[in-house]
């Protein structure tokens, strides 16, 4: 079990704690041992992992007995405004990320690009640095979405044990999160619009088609979609409703789990994500990696609405109790 420090994005950004203080807070709440970071959030000298950061990291890990689970890399190909990164620049940037992961003791890097030629060049680097590479599958896609099938084909071609996936549970939700629905109500949607949003979301049309249908509905009711800001897009982009059982199609390649969540209700359940079912699928299919809690309510909630690290602690209780209910053998 563990978490991604991404769960505390808003609090970290607002200066509630420094990096050291954040790790202290995680330990204080009994969360762990797995620690995952998004490097572009936490490393002040990104993309380089500097010696000072490594010192802070090692001292905190020694103090708290944490275990490094996943290093979230990005590929900032659009860093320049006049042109994209060249393939050589992409390779160099990715190598830098991998070296940073190694310095911090991570066994796994979360990657977001699976371009065949780039991966082919990076595999020897990953092998030398003893890293596995996990491409993240998250909303709105699932394991059998077209773009993911292409990644699976690339993987089959490259045929390397170093390549796998991060399964993010935002792909496999059964409802829209109360946190998101509260946010769109605050932005002005009434009961009818909130119901219509959920009805459209639940259909099987493409993300773009569903988004356009909802925008057309709002205009039809004389509601300026601009009032929703980014929510009009994020509602469809960040919550997927693929069947949890589809994860079983690629389970041998799932190296890491983002235990995504937005709410924990009074009964200790995640109202929009079927954790008992997901845990059953993963346990029965033999998953042995980390469960890295990822609270993403900060996309919709106001700072201070909840304490995400307290929620992570409650979510760990939910995951553990779901594990206990999976039939043995």
């Amino acid at each position: 079990m563990g978490l991604t420090l991404y769960s505390a994005s808003a609090e970290f950004r607002a200066g509630y704690f420094g990096f050291d203080g954040l790790l202290d807070r995680v330990a204080e709440l009994g969360i762990g041992p797995g620690i995952e970071i998004v490097a572009s959030q936490m490393v002040p000298t990104y993309p380089v992992v500097g010696d000072e950061f490594v010192r802070t990291w090692r001292a905190a890990f020694d103090r708290h007995g944490f275990v490094e689970s996943s290093f979230g890399a990005n590929l900032d190909m659009g860093r320049r405004r006049d042109r994209d990164m060249t393939p050589d620049e992409e390779f160099a940037f990715s190598t830098l990320m991998f070296e940073g992961a190694k310095k911090l003791g991570f066994p796994l890097v979360r990657i977001q690009s699976a371009k065949p030629e780039l991966l082919r060049r990076l595999l020897p680097i990953a092998e030398r640095l003893e890293l596995k590479l996990a491409y993240e599958i998250h909303a709105p896609m699932g394991p059998n979405a077209e773009p993911i099938l292409r990644v699976r084909e690339t993987y089959a071609e490259l045929d390397s044990p170093l390549l796998g996936f991060v399964a993010d549970f935002s792909s496999t939700m059964h409802a829209m999160s109360p946190t998101l629905l509260r946010a769109v109500r605050r932005a002005g949607l009434d009961d009818e619009a909130v119901q219509r949003l959920q009805d459209i979301w639940a259909t099987d049309a493409t993300m773009q088609a569903r988004q356009q249908e909802f925008i057309a509905y709002l205009r039809g009711r004389d509601f300026d979609p601009g009032r929703l800001g980014a929510f009009a897009h994020l509602a469809f982009n960040m919550h997927g409703h693929v069947d949890p059982r589809e994860w079983a199609d690629i389970m041998p390649q799932i190296l890491h789990v983002h235990a995504k969540f937005y709410d924990i209700d009074d009964a200790g359940r995640e109202p929009a994500i079927d954790y008992p079912e997901l845990v059953r699928v993963f346990v029965e299919s033999g998953y042995r990696g980390f469960w890295s809690s990822e609270w993403e309510g900060h996309a919709f909630a106001e700072l201070g609405e909840v304490d995400p690290l307290l929620l992570v602690r409650r979510q760990h209780d939910l995951i553990r109790s779901a594990m206990r209910t999976v039939p043995v053998g």
């Binding site: 950004r13 320049r80 994209d84 800001g229 042995r288 990696g289 602690r313």
Partner: protein
């Protein structure tokens, strides 16, 4: 709206006119070159881009200098000042209507690659903050955090990943 550029404690006095303490409107650090638009209106008056600059500590950037700054990181915890030159500097305690419109170009979310060595298309993030702000002299206080949780269960070594 969460993830905005400005907050209740953002408006500050400045000898040149006024300053706004900015928060990066995203969940990760970005390059200054990722900031494609910053447009400020104060009390209904649109400010000229030439009268705006972004200050990180000792270093100042005009808005038209931002596109080149692809090596300068806006770290997630950094709060630069958007300094606006105006004839009448604001004073502590005054209230002003502020509209700050910002747009980002997310460098790791490519929609389409560039053609013929040109720049590609990237997912934007648009922020439109409309706030009535009072000029303050310091950051808002950080709230106290509670820690009343039950002790966690003892760690079982067998739950540790068996990956090499």
């Amino acid at each position: 709206m969460p993830n905005g550029l400005i907050h209740d404690d953002s408006l500050r006095a400045h000898p040149d006119g006024l300053a706004l303490r900015l928060t990066i409107p995203w969940y990760r650090s970005l390059w200054l070159s990722s900031v494609t638009t910053l447009a400020l209106t104060v009390d209904g008056e649109e400010m000229d881009a030439a009268d705006l600059r972004v200050e990180f500590g000792d270093t100042s950037y005009r808005l038209d200098e931002l596109p080149e700054q692809s090596e300068r990181l806006w770290f997630l915890q950094e709060h630069p000042l958007l300094v606006a030159r105006r004839d009448h500097p604001v004073a502590l305690g005054e209230t002003h209507d502020v509209v700050l419109h910002g747009e980002l170009r997310l460098p790791y979310m490519q929609i389409a690659p560039g053609q013929d060595g040109g720049p590609g298309m990237y997912v934007p993030n648009v922020v439109h903050d409309v706030k009535t702000l009072t000029v303050v002299g310091a950051d808002a206080e950080i709230p106290a955090l509670v820690s009343d949780v039950t002790p966690p269960p003892p760690r079982r070594r067998t739950t540790r990943s068996s990956w090499g």
